[in-house]
Symmetry: C2
Subunit: 130 residues, 2 copies
DNA sequence: GCTTGACTTGGAGTAAACTCCAGATATTAC
DNA sequence: GTAATATCTGGAGTTTACTCCAAGTCAAGC
């Protein structure tokens, strides 16, 4: 799979794909004979994982640290687990806060609906009274 | 309430408070005789609202647009409502995606726990066989 | 009244995460 | 075979959202 196919598949620009690789967020992608990127199934898996984690707000730095540990093998299992737990906890906190904000927006929208109805009533009154 | 008190109360730096005001995210804050900011209850309300919306991911641009509409009065009620609905929908989508990522992280962490147990077992085996 | 610390402004600087560019090589279509 | 298109790299530029700075005014303690 070449880079533009992967770009389409995951909705990341080719520049972003190269950037993630350059920054060490994903392992070096497999190349064909002439040096062009040829993403394997596994390469795609990493892209998908990073895309997902980035969308959830994990930083480039954190993700780079994770894959750096990953490449040090089994002796970093505990560290990687701890990193994931820390990020999970942060994500959970963000989610809770955002859930609250969603409810607040819902409430605000309902209030706007009432205000709009109210406003229309008043306009009607004014017209009648003329 | 002076700016550093508001800063402490909401956990936003004084620079950020001034920046939000300069950018028109919050209405101009009340000043005392000598020109220093003296936040009213209402000013604080705006600060809290903007802080909350920013934390949920609404952009500076969007929030500026909202308060610009707000200051045009009742004839922008429908527009403001539509803006809030659009942002609510985006937030809801983000939340759903992030919820999925949270579950994925939870799963990954459980897998790590198993891997760690497995790894320790193997270490023990190696030691015994020596 | 003077020093020390807080507040003011306009504008410059920074961090994170891309995004774009130039110049070179590779592939595809005709 | 050649033109058009895609990919490569290193590095510069951009966007968003702050964050810091300088130079000046204001306020509180002694």
């Amino acid at each position: 799979m070449n880079i533009s196919q992967v770009s389409k598949k995951y909705g990341l620009s080719v520049d972003t794909l190269r950037y993630y690789e350059k920054e060490g967020l994903i392992p070096p992608v497999h190349r064909n004979e002439s040096g062009l990127r040829d993403y394997t199934e596994q390469d795609c898996g990493w892209v998908e994982f990073i895309k997902c984690m980035r969308a959830a707000g994990l930083s480039i730095d954190t993700l780079r640290e994770y894959i750096t540990l990953y490449f040090k093998g089994n002796r970093t299992l505990q560290k990687r687990k701890n990193l994931l737990i820390a990020e999970r906890d942060k994500l959970q906190a963000r989610l809770k806060e955002m859930q609250g904000t969603l409810e607040r927006l819902d409430y605000k929208i309902r209030v706007y609906e009432e205000k709009i109805v109210q406003c229309e009533k008043e306009l009607l009154k004014k017209r009648k009274s003329k």
